[in-house]
């Protein structure tokens, strides 16, 4: 199928072409409809999580097993030789000799790219600090395609913590390929970083910046919400000031378009009222499920099984 992904490291969403993104999303949707339980039989994935993660790690591991592959690995750097002072480079070089593909998460930024230099086996980045998390973006795009029937020419708002949230940065960058109209809703202290806005301007993407969401909702196809991440705040007082600034309720969706879907990378705290879960607009739990298929598609493509 799409041979350019064969053997490739998937480190940053910016390295994928629109055609490659489309091929991953297409295969993910196919695998959701029609499971392929023997596609990766005989293959082994190294699941190297140097930092705790539940959704990403479990969905990578389940993805591999649902395709008939096997998984070895660790869920905490404390059990590895990193504790004895081994470099990441050496650790991954060794793991690469045992497995066919490495899925990894690491607290340091750039760790996945460094790991990719240590082994010829494909390395898939499951998050490197505040830098990149490409499989999250792929499952976000898959959810958008699934609910809207297309990726092109959609009106998409991102709301909440747009400063520290890496998912919204990567998604905004990926959407530059698909001519989206973007709305950024955030308090000024959590606004989208200027370098990203410059990048969007250079690529001719239409966007606007807002502090409140009430007037925006009726225009949207997708509302992408994020949690205000307390742990990223240098100043606790500032956190207390903005933590409850957005709280989406059923009443806010009164004038929403029928096709509006609400996405959220999860976990949520209180930014989406639980009553919203029952509306047809809520799609965040299906989105999390899609992580399984997006990661299956990526594993199948880098291992050239399709």
């Amino acid at each position: 199928m799409f041979s350019t992904l064969k053997g490739r490291d998937i480190i940053s969403i910016n390295e994928l072409t629109p055609a490659e993104i489309n091929s991953i999303v297409k295969l993910a949707l196919e695998l959701k409809k029609k499971p392929q339980p023997n596609l990766l039989a005989g293959k082994v994935m190294g699941s190297c999580f140097f930092e705790p993660s539940t959704r990403t790690r479990l969905s990578f591991e389940t993805a591999m097993q649902r395709l008939g592959g096997k998984v070895v690995g660790f869920a905490d750097a404390g059990v590895t030789s990193a504790k004895k002072g081994e470099t990441l480079y050496d650790s991954i070089k060794i793991v690469g000799q045992y497995v066919d593909v490495v899925a990894m998460r690491h607290p340091l930024e750039g760790a996945a790219r460094r790991a990719a230099e240590a082994t010829d086996k494909p390395v898939i980045n499951g998050g490197d600090g505040a830098n990149q998390h490409p499989t999250q973006t792929l499952l976000d795009l898959m959810s958008i395609k699934e609910t809207q029937g297309k990726l092109n020419n959609l009106s998409i708002a991102m709301m909440g913590d747009l400063k520290y949230g890496r998912t919204v940065h990567s998604l905004a960058q990926a959407l530059t390929h698909f001519n989206a109209r973007l709305y950024f809703i955030a308090p000024p202290s959590l606004a989208m970083p200027e370098y990203l806005l410059t990048e969007l301007r250079e690529k001719g993407i239409k966007f606007s910046v807002h502090e409140s969401f009430e007037n925006i909702i009726p225009k949207l196809d997708v509302l992408y919400m994020t949690r205000i991440q307390g742990e990223r705040f240098p100043d606790q007082m500032e956190y207390n000031r903005v933590k409850d600034v957005y709280r989406l309720t059923v009443a806010d969706l009164k004038n929403a378009k029928k096709n509006l879907r609400i996405l959220h990378p999860l976990p949520r705290v209180n930014e989406i009222d639980y009553a919203v879960d029952k509306t047809p607009h809520a799609y965040y739990f299906e989105q999390a499920e899609n992580g399984l298929y997006a990661r299956q598609a990526l594993l199948a493509l880098v291992l050239n099984a399709i």
Binding site: S12, T87, L88, L108, E109, G110, A111, R113, D128, N131
Partner: protein
């Protein structure tokens, strides 16, 4: 650089390298990047000297030390306008403008403390970009982009 009285503000050298037309205020950074403290030759610098073309400039004279073009080009991170003069017997035998390399390896310390390059024994690697504001450097690993004034530390060249 001649004062109105006819004396040089920064004395002439017989042999070596003169880095002229460096951006005003960049001399100390350039010295740091060249690892001048490891040499025992005479080094003279002038900062904020009057310049016909740019108003103010810095100048560095390295006696008995002919720097290689690859080393000279490192100064372009801070001063893309710098001109290198190689001096032999008080005469300029070679003169060229520095060129910004597309890639700078193992020299600049990434200002992001959470970058893998600051936590593992390895070379840093930056992709340079020239724009209206000056030079920016994008870390190959943590993917962050820095302006030249964000760069505070170097591994010695």
């Amino acid at each position: 650089m001649i004062q109105q009285t006819g004396t040089l503000l920064v004395s002439a050298i017989k042999n070596g390298t003169v880095i002229d037309h460096a951006k005003a205020g960049s001399a100390l950074k350039i010295l740091s990047i060249l690892g001048v403290e490891n040499h025992d030759n005479v080094v003279t610098i002038g900062m904020h000297l009057p310049s016909k073309t740019s108003g103010k400039k810095d100048i560095i004279k390295l006696a008995n030390w002919e720097i290689t073009p690859s080393k000279a080009n490192l100064t372009a991170i801070f001063s893309p306008s710098a001109v290198i003069n190689i001096i032999k017997d008080f005469k300029v035998v070679k003169k060229y403008q520095v060129e910004l390399s597309e890639i700078i390896s193992g020299l600049v310390v990434c200002p992001n403390p959470k970058c893998i390059t600051n936590n593992e024994s390895m070379d840093s690697l930056f992709h340079t970009q020239k724009n209206k504001q000056g030079v920016s450097l994008k870390c190959h690993y943590c993917e962050r982009t820095f302006k030249q004034e964000d760069i505070k530390e170097y591994h010695r060249a």
